[in-house]
């Protein structure tokens, strides 16, 4: 009987959550009961581990204290790395989250569908992307893979990176057989010979270290804006309705990025991130290959190159018919005022090179 009740509860709770979240705006309270943030997480090691700045944010006592004073409960909504884009977009759509740390292309796709979100705090300068082939493959470049099967999880941020690589080689999606597989399945397909290529993130290094694959291209050797971006996005409705809470989160995020960006914390940050599954050597190898200093890599600034990046992402999505309505990059950004105020409050106005940042 207990089991049945629990099963019933498990079945009903998302429905109840949906209904309460839909009626929540009617309550018209000054503060929401919860601040819900989606993060890429896994808990294979027992305690949940978050990817990127949220890992630091989760242990930020000052932030959590401020929320407690306002009687706002902080709720982390973990999403699996197998389908971050889809799960986060679906959670934004049925209003189960207010904020999310996730990627550029999915955010554009979400906004094109009519759900409005805004980029609140820019993340780091970007994550590198990789093209891997089986270890025994004779392919040396993208050209060698023409007409072959390449695993790529569609709608994920690294798709834009892949598109740029194709374009630079005078090729298009139709020159390959693109197999839509999540990163885990893509790795398995590469290992079993199901695909001849696999376009992904630094998990390609893990395959290489295990002797399964070799990396034949990475965005290290490409212009800086070929990297994919992941950052803090929030529901437009929430940002407009609760600007003070939004500021609290923006400030805490900038504080976390400042902590990470200091050279003395670099090792600890990498050690924490390694708990997510990627070996420290892999993370270090990826970070070392960046063309900017560790500190500048973590600058949370709105700049023209950020805007240009989103223009390219939106153009790719529209050109390849991933979205029906075009999306204006400029409309995707929350006011830079949140970040600027955070920098002021933390006394970091001159910490990063703000010459190019929007005021």
């Amino acid at each position: 009987m207990n089991f049945r009740n629990r099963a019933l509860g498990r079945f009903l709770s998302p429905i109840l959550a949906l209904l309460t979240s839909l009626t929540a705006p009617l309550a018209a309270a000054d503060e929401p009961a919860k601040l819900r943030i989606a993060v890429v997480a896994n808990s294979t090691s027992g305690t949940p581990v978050f990817v990127g700045p949220p890992q630091r944010l989760a242990s930020d006592q000052e932030f959590q204290q401020a929320l407690r004073q306002r009687n706002v409960e902080l709720e982390w909504v973990p999403v699996s790395s197998a389908a971050v884009a889809t799960l986060t977009n679906e959670a934004f759509t049925n209003r189960r989250i207010d904020f999310a740390f996730y990627g550029d292309l999915p955010s554009v796709i979400l906004n094109a569908s009519g759900i409005k979100t805004r980029l609140l705090v820019p993340g780091n300068l970007g994550t590198n992307t990789y093209l891997a082939v089986p270890a025994n493959s004779g392919a040396r470049s993208l050209q060698d893979l023409k007409g072959k099967r390449i695993a790529l999880h569609r709608g994920r941020p690294w798709e834009v990176s892949f598109a740029k690589l194709l374009e630079a080689n005078g090729l298009g999606f139709n020159d390959f057989r693109i197999i839509n597989l999540n990163p885990q399945a893509g790795a398995a397909a590469l290992a079993s010979g199901g695909v001849e290529g696999f376009f992904t993130l630094d998990d390609a290094y893990v395959l290489e270290e295990r002797g399964i694959a070799k990396v034949i291209w990475s965005s290290h050797q490409a212009p800086h804006d070929w990297k994919m971006r992941a950052e803090l996005w929030g529901s437009e409705e929430f940002i407009n309705r609760y600007p003070e809470l939004t500021q609290l989160l923006a400030t805490a995020t900038v504080r976390a990025m400042h902590w990470i960006s200091r050279d003395e914390n670099r090792d600890e940050y990498i050690r924490l991130q390694a708990r997510f599954g990627l070996p420290e050597t892999v993370i270090r190898r990826d970070a070392d290959a960046n063309q900017v200093t560790w500190k500048d890599y973590w600058a949370p600034l709105f700049t023209d190159s950020l805007k240009k990046h989103y223009e390219q992402v939106a153009a790719h999505a529209h050109r390849n018919k991933l979205i029906r309505k075009s999306v204006e990059a400029a409309e995707l950004f929350a006011s830079p005022g949140f970040v600027n105020r955070a920098l002021q409050e933390l006394g970091l106005e001159h910490y990063w090179n703000t010459a190019e940042a929007w005021q």
Binding site: A85, S113, R177, A189
Partner: protein, 273 residues
């Protein structure tokens, strides 16, 4: 007298009644139409965001868009090709194996228990292993359908042949029927009714399994069209996929029932005369 009058007028009423719409014809339409009405009403009230509960009009528009661009036909064609190929291989081999199981003691002894054990494994549970063996290309889909078809057809053929009264076979032997005639004129016709049911069930299952495996791993097909649309937040396209999948499954089942009736009608008439 009044009673006789009623009885007499009774038959005269009948032709008039058949001019009216027969409720038995309309009845199956009631629940789909009601569902459509509820869907339309809930969507128009905007209780759920449009992105979650897509209004019927938008789904229809997506359907038009997909058919005009030829995208839907292309995916559907690929899916149906996979279904046909896998189903033909699975049904034919299942038929042969099932009949052998029923007729040959040796086949039963050597392969019977393995067959019984294997058929208990759900097809979907085999997908991860099949991906490792067959990769994620066309072979995987065809093998999955062969698996989903082979076992129900083999079981149906086994049962069908087992159910043939032994007198039939004795008469066959008495007349010294050749082996070929014994099969074509006796064994298969006698087993045809349970066999057809088995094949129909297998066909329905294959379709379900195919769409499921296309959702997981494919570069084309109706299931993949739905999965890609989900990743792109295009629930209208997902809904088109849901409807098309449902309608095709329904049509396959109906079509096969019709075929069953056509094939069996002659035999039933034979029996009754």
């Amino acid at each position: 007298m009044a009673v006789i009058g009623e009885v007499l007028t009774g038959p005269a009423d009948r032709p008039r009644r058949s001019l009216r719409l027969n409720p038995a014809v309309l009845a199956p339409l009631v629940s789909p139409l009601a569902l459509l009405a509820i869907w339309y009403w809930v969507a128009s009230r905007e209780i759920f965001p449009e992105q979650i509960l897509v209004p019927p009009g938008v789904v229809l528009e997506a359907f038009r868009e997909l058919t005009e661009s030829g995208e839907l036909q292309e995916h559907l064609g690929i899916s149906l090709y996979r279904l046909t190929l896998g189903f033909l291989i699975g049904a034919l081999s299942g038929l042969i194996f099932g009949v052998l199981l029923a007729l040959s003691r040796q086949v039963r002894d050597y392969a019977g228990s393995l067959f019984q054990a294997l058929r208990q494994i759900p097809t979907l549970a085999l997908i991860p292993m099949f991906i490792l063996f067959f990769g994620i290309g066309e072979t995987l889909k065809v093998v999955i359908i062969v698996k989903a078809t082979f076992f129900p057809v083999a079981v149906a053929a086994w049962d069908g042949v087992k159910g043939i009264p032994t007198q039939y076979l004795e008469v066959g032997h008495l007349y010294r029927l050749k082996r070929r005639d014994l099969w074509l004129r006796l064994v298969l016709p006698a087993a045809v009714s349970p066999l057809l049911t088995g094949i129909r069930i297998a066909l329905g299952r294959s379709w379900l399994v195919l769409v499921a495996v296309e959702l997981l791993a494919a570069d084309s097909g109706i299931g993949q069209m739905m999965e890609l649309a989900r990743q792109m937040m295009r629930l209208d396209i997902v809904m088109v996929g849901v409807f098309v999948t449902g309608i095709i499954g329904f049509a396959l089942d109906k079509g096969f029932r019709l075929l069953e009736r056509l094939l069996l009608r002659g035999r039933i008439a034979e029996k009754t005369t």
